[in-house]
């Protein structure tokens, strides 16, 4: 069975994001970019399934500018077998990404798509669910444990009240949560090896999908700042202050 892992190139999670002064977006120039952390977890899970012998090939796919090939190299340095880059400059809405991914799924015919639950830049948390709907596949969102059976998969999900386990027919879409695994670091030899792994390249129009935006971004602004607080000397003073503030 083949697993497809969509990986997005995003601002590194450690970067303090700044809004541009003209309100058109956030500062992306000279900012460290990385693979979306949830997608790294997705790659790791696919690799573990391969190491267990359940999966034969792990294919990473990224949609974005030329530099998204670096994100694919990261996935391949971890162990993904090959990469697919769908070139597109500029923002894409999750619906457009899902449509492109659908075309890739139809070509590659994976038994499973494992992807992140959320891209940490747009914080949308939509693409996996949309892809599942477009393919008419079941979905296991916010997964913290996977168990593959014969033609179906058990997915334990992180839900609001705790954990829920569901059983899905395959093929299926899985979206990862933080506790699914701890991704490995790529070793230097594997980073070298990844340079030789193939990346197939295509453009969004070549996928035959309409990626025109449905939404209009009217602007981006800074969140309101909290006023600076005060220090208290001990727990007693803290309780006094909270009583004064009327909390209890």
């Amino acid at each position: 069975m083949k697993v497809l892992v969509p990986v997005k190139r995003v601002i590194d999670f450690n970067v303090a994001v700044r809004v541009k002064t003209d309100g058109s977006g956030v500062e992306l120039a000279n900012v460290k970019m990385s693979i979306n952390p949830f997608d790294e977890i997705a790659v790791e899970e696919a690799l573990r399934l391969k190491e267990k012998g359940t999966v034969t090939e792990v294919v990473a796919v990224s949609i974005g500018p030329a530099q998204a090939s670096e994100t694919l190299r990261t996935a391949m340095a971890m162990g993904a077998d090959r990469g697919i880059l769908i070139r597109h400059d500029g923002e894409l809405e999750p619906l457009a990404v899902a449509k492109i991914l659908k075309s890739v799924v139809e070509e590659e015919k994976p038994g499973l798509v494992i992807m992140g639950k959320q891209a940490i830049d747009d914080d949308c948390n939509q693409t996996g669910q949309m892809l599942a709907a477009l393919l008419n596949w079941p979905q296991g969102t916010f997964a913290s444990k996977l168990e593959i059976g014969d033609g179906h998969i058990q997915v334990t999900r992180e839900v609001d009240g705790g954990l829920q386990t569901i059983d899905l027919d395959m093929p299926a879409i899985i979206t990862t949560d933080l506790r699914l695994n701890e991704p490995r670091y790529a070793s230097l030899p594997n980073i070298m090896k990844a340079r030789k792994k193939p990346i197939a390249e295509k453009t969004a129009p070549e996928c035959g999908v309409d990626v025109s935006p449905r939404l209009k971004i009217l602007g981006v602004s800074e969140p309101s700042k909290r006023r600076t607080g005060t220090r208290v000397a001990n727990a007693g003073e803290l309780v006094t202050k909270l009583r004064e503030a009327g909390v209890f």
Partner: protein, 309 residues
Amino acid sequence: MPALVLAEHDKGRLSEATAKTVTAAAQISDTVHVLVAGQNIASVSAAAAEIQGVARVLAADDARYAHQLAEPLAELILSVASKYDAILAPATATGKSTLPRVAARLDVAQVSEIVAVEAPDTFLRPIYAGNAIQKIQIPSGVKVITVRTSAFKAAPLGGNAIIETVAPAADPGTSRFTSENLSVSLRPELTNARIIVSGGRGMGSKENFILLERIADKMGAGLGASRAAVDAGFVPNDYQVGQTGKIVAPELYIAVGISGAIQHLAGMKDSKIVVAINKDENAPIFGVADYGLVADLFEALPELERALG
């Protein structure tokens, strides 16, 4: 055309998230309907009918909705979607799993986690872990929206909506509920709590969380945690507050042994009063704290417990 709100409920109880989502929906459309899908939901439908501003409750009572699985739930919403100009759900695990399926099938975008309605077609939503606020317009088509409930007040009770039965929709039959392992707690649920006491890696162990529990119980508070505390197994996953956990905005949030990474701040910085207890005076959490106590938590927490009387 009216707006449809997907009700959030559990074990026969309507969640307050529903009334909060109704508030957002009422700012988008003059008429609001609520869809209750589940099994044995008479009490939930009756509670939804009491929310002011709700004109009609659609009740779909069927075993296939018992566990809120996204596949059948999305089909149900799609079966009534043509009558609505906006479809909203609270940004809960169910809402987030289901609405993007609906949007994709309607071939429209979804707008996630709005925190304000600027105009019936224009919304504010946080991006980059709340480091930026996006103003976004849906120029045409059905508006499919999830609502960050911490940003909206619950619509009051006192309404008297019509309750109407809707037929279940075809179940794709590709997903099945197996089991669940839900946290049992007598403390207030995080998204509803007036006070939250949250622990981080600094708590050191599962056992040490008892120090926080004692304080939570004195104050009638809910218990939260950072990702690091959840990853370390100190507390269950549903305690996680943050960008990719629960978003909360209580009257009082007390962060103990939490450094204040942006991903954590994203989930709590809209709290009315923030208290931080941390032994590192340079911890970023102090940057958002109204009251900061630089101290070892193992001394400060017992002291705090005594001071609370």
